[in-house]
């Protein structure tokens, strides 16, 4: 597993959201009042103010009945326009997928991974395409054929139209996804070979914070980099004072399994600087530490199980090295705040053991696979809700094809190019910004060669910095779709963590809902609903 679930910090995110929305709102007001004054003269102040008041009036006179009516209309429209034909594509894919992806020669975990990734990818891709097209074409089509005229000439508020559309498309997304996910679950259980079924599980790990000691025993931010470009794992040197220290919070008797054992699962990697002993893997050792009681209890030597990982069943009563003294894991080694500290050391001299934060965790009793699968489907559902919100909002100010393209770009950038965008916006991308990159292309310079100093370079870099700032703003308003992809958790046999995946996904959807609805409302309100 090469992902590191980090708990989402809600309040700092809310603070950033308030800042971004506040600034955007202030800018919108300036532009709105400016535009009104430009077209109406000083009377424009009153016109703009009137629109704001009307917005609040519409907000407080929302009718759930009308929203329901519009949502039902949207739902019926999608169904009667054959949106559910997506099930045919889905059925064809699932009928024949087994021929290509089932390979009983592979490791059980890998077989499960391939099947799970296929199902979740199919669910998210098919439903995304259907929902995006529906959401982006609903209102523009209504305007094109002018059926919206019979709605807005009734007491339906523009806000109710937007909310009704969002609710209706969300309903379609829910039905489509629920049906496909149910079929997908049955398919998974039938298609994964019986000998691999045990890997269809849902580990519920307790992750700890990791810190390091270097070879001299001094605290270090990381271990040693053994030459990886992407340093996910840090390495500790064998037979030295180097340690990786995990601090697991919230450990109690409930963390133990039914037999009163603590399951510690590890996925360490070895890096050998010499052949060493060829008939065994590298050795490592756990040491349980309670700083409050100044207790250090070494555990037995173990061999690294590279690439497959190993689960160590640590009994509640530990007797180190066959001694007389016995320690209770919970009562003696967990501190008063419920933290359990585990130090990992590599035993073989001159060899290195690589580890990252999620490489060691306490495995509490597993949940059924269905629990993780359900959360993963909830992740896809939340993504679809966001796509509906974005699509409906875009469709209030541009036509269907443009709205589709716009929403598609937001999804792709938010999902695939976000890291690149981050680097370019922060100016940390090798090769510089737009103009510097163009210059390098023309001059056949590689990205690491310094650009010669001079006035032109200064101008180029200054313009690039301006563009980077623009990109930074752009980045702030683009949703992060990575949270919604919860498939890696269940594909690797893990439960989907609420605080690291589900919570941020919910927060992202809510964060975009309010501003998008405001934009959509005023877009519909301030435009003439006439097909042109």
């Amino acid at each position: 597993m090469s992902f590191d679930p980090v708990a989402f910090s809600l309040w700092p995110a809310v603070l950033v959201w308030l800042q971004v929305v506040g600034v955007s709102l202030a800018l919108a007001l300036v532009v709105g009042f400016g535009g009104a004054v430009a077209s109406h003269g000083f009377r424009g102040f009153g016109v703009a103010f009137g629109e704001i008041v009307a917005g609040f009036r519409d907000l407080f006179s929302l009718s759930l009945g009308r929203i329901y009516a519009l949502a039902k209309l949207t739902f019926l429209e999608a169904i009667r326009r054959k949106a559910l034909l997506v099930f045919v594509v889905f059925a064809i894919l699932f009928m024949f997928a087994g021929w290509f992806i089932t390979d009983t020669g592979q490791k059980a975990a890998l077989q499960v991974k391939v099947h799970v990734i296929f199902v979740t990818w199919t669910l998210s891709t098919l439903s995304l395409v259907v929902v995006m097209l529906l959401a982006c074409w609903g209102i523009p089509e209504d305007i094109r054929v002018r059926s919206i005229h019979t709605v807005v000439t009734k007491p339906a508020r523009r806000l109710e139209i937007v909310l009704g559309r969002i609710l209706g498309f969300s309903g379609i997304a829910t039905v489509v996804l629920a049906v496909m996910a149910s079929v997908g679950y049955v398919w998974l259980n039938r298609q994964v070979p019986p000998e691999s079924q045990s890997e269809l599980t849902c580990r519920r790990p307790i992750y700890g914070a990791i810190s390091f000691l270097d070879r001299t025993g001094d605290p270090a931010k990381f271990g040693i980099n053994v030459g990886d470009t992407w340093m996910f794992r840090s390495y500790i040197e064998g037979s030295s004072k180097a340690r990786a220290i995990w601090n697991f919070p919230g450990v109690s008797a409930s963390s133990l399994d039914a037999d009163e054992n603590l399951q510690l699962e590890s996925r360490f990697q070895a890096f050998r600087s010499h052949k060493g002993t060829m008939d065994r893997q590298l050795l490592y050792r756990f040491e349980f530490v309670n700083p409050e009681k100044e207790l250090r209890v070494p555990y037995k030597l173990m061999e690294v199980a590279e690439f497959i990982g190993s689960t160590e069943t640590v009994p509640r009563k530990i007797r180190p090295d066959g001694g007389v003294k016995e320690y209770d894991l919970i009562n003696d080694l967990v501190d008063s705040k419920g933290n359990l500290q585990v130090e990992v050391s590599c035993v073989d001299p001159g060899q290195y053991l690589g580890m990252a934060r999620p490489d060691l965790f306490i495995r509490t009793p597993d949940a059924p696979f269905l629990a993780g699968y359900f959360k993963s489907v909830v992740g896809i559902w939340l993504m679809l809700l966001l796509v509906v919100i974005l699509g409906v909002s875009a469709s209030t100010f541009v036509k269907g094809p443009v709205a589709t393209l716009l929403t598609f770009c937001i999804v792709v950038i938010g999902q695939v190019f976000r890291e690149l965008l981050d680097k370019v916006a922060k100016g940390t991308q090798e090769g510089g910004g737009l103009f510097e990159s163009i210059y390098r292309l023309i001059a056949h310079m590689n990205p690491t060669t310094p650009v010669p100093d001079g006035l032109a370079t200064q101008v180029m870099k200054t313009v690039d910095r301006g563009l980077e700032n623009l990109l930074w703003v752009f980045r702030q308003i683009l949703p992060d779709f990575s949270y919604f992809n919860m498939a890696p958790y269940i594909a690797n046999g893990f439960d989907v963590p609420f605080d690291a995946a589900v919570l941020p996904s919910i927060v992202v959807v809510m964060a975009y809902f309010i501003p998008c609805v405001i934009i959509a409302y005023y877009s519909l309100r301030l435009r003439e609903l006439e097909a042109k």
Partner: protein
């Protein structure tokens, strides 16, 4: 209270609409300085050739288009105020309905937009489907309807809220003569119920049959405004209608007229219009199937 003395339901003052292109350049002035009132309880006709600004005016009244200049008060509120729609019914030029719904679902949907309770929606749906004579097709999706049927269901949706003011854009367009007659009868029936009706059409006979007052637009400008009977009265001629006269009686009448200095006299049988002939033919065909109708 007569229409002339009653309060205005629609007040349009110096209304203009200029359509512009993407760059803000003026394309066409669709309505120019239009001022008129529509009084409570009257049937008011907006007439004019294609492109004269009738539909643009109606759309500005409904808030679908924004005026470039001028003011609109409709039921005492601004055209952009959605609250006015509680008391308005609108039949668009084409029946822009949701073609994937059937008649029941269509009326139920529009009824929900007025927050009508389920029982009232059901009752109104039954009444209106009966009124516009599409009960037999209430379960069929509108995409299977003929143009005339779509028009009828369009009218039904306009009446779902029992509105005080009804705006009809080309109400008889697409209807056969029977439907046309039904529509005109219905307009008169609604007038009898105290509703105010604003209709626009370029079918002059229809307007003449039902409207109390008319305005004729040309090139976006108001050219004529007044009561239909006043406007159509020919002040230079007198018409006498009597049962069929013998040739001798006609000669005597002509002699009397000559004695009073009237030399240009036209004597003929009065003619009914084609609509009357058509309606009579259909009526007799229903009563006597298989019989040829004597002209």
């Amino acid at each position: 209270m007569s229409a002339e003395t009653s309060e205005p339901v629609i007040q349009v003052n110096n209304l203009s609409k200029v359509y512009r292109d993407f760059w803000g350049r003026k394309k066409v002035r669709a309505v120019n300085s239009l001022t008129l009132d529509v009084k409570k309880g009257e049937v008011f006709g907006l007439l004019g050739p294609n492109g004269s600004g009738k539909t643009t005016t109606i759309k500005m009244l409904l808030g679908l288009l924004f005026p470039t200049e001028g003011e609109i008060k409709i039921l005492g509120q601004n055209a952009s105020d959605v609250r006015k729609n509680e008391r308005i019914g609108y039949l668009p030029e084409e029946s822009y309905l949701y073609r994937f719904l059937n008649a029941d679902e269509t009326l139920d949907f529009y009824g929900r937009l007025f927050n009508l309770p389920a029982k009232v929606r059901k009752q109104r749906t039954d009444e209106l489907l009966s009124l516009v004579k599409v009960e037999h097709a209430r379960r069929r999706q509108l995409k299977e309807y003929s143009k005339g049927m779509t028009r009828r269901i369009g009218l039904a949706q306009a009446l779902i809220n029992d509105p005080d003011l009804i705006l009809l854009d080309e109400p008889t367009s697409g209807l056969d003569p029977l439907g046309n007659r039904d529509m005109k009868d219905l307009i008169l029936k609604l007038k009898g119920m105290g509703k105010t009706i604003l209709m626009c059409s370029h079918l002059l006979a229809d307007v003449q049959d039902v409207c109390d007052r008319i305005a004729i637009l040309y090139g976006g400008e108001l050219k004529v405004l007044g009561r239909v009977d006043e406007l159509l009265k020919q002040k230079g001629a007198t018409q006498i209608t009597a049962p069929t006269l013998t040739p001798e009686a006609i000669a005597e009448v002509e002699a009397v007229l000559k004695k009073h200095g009237v030399n240009q006299v036209q004597v003929d049988n009065p003619r009914s219009d084609l609509e009357d002939l058509f309606l009579r033919t259909v009526q007799e065909s229903r009563e006597h199937p298989g019989r040829r109708i004597a002209p």
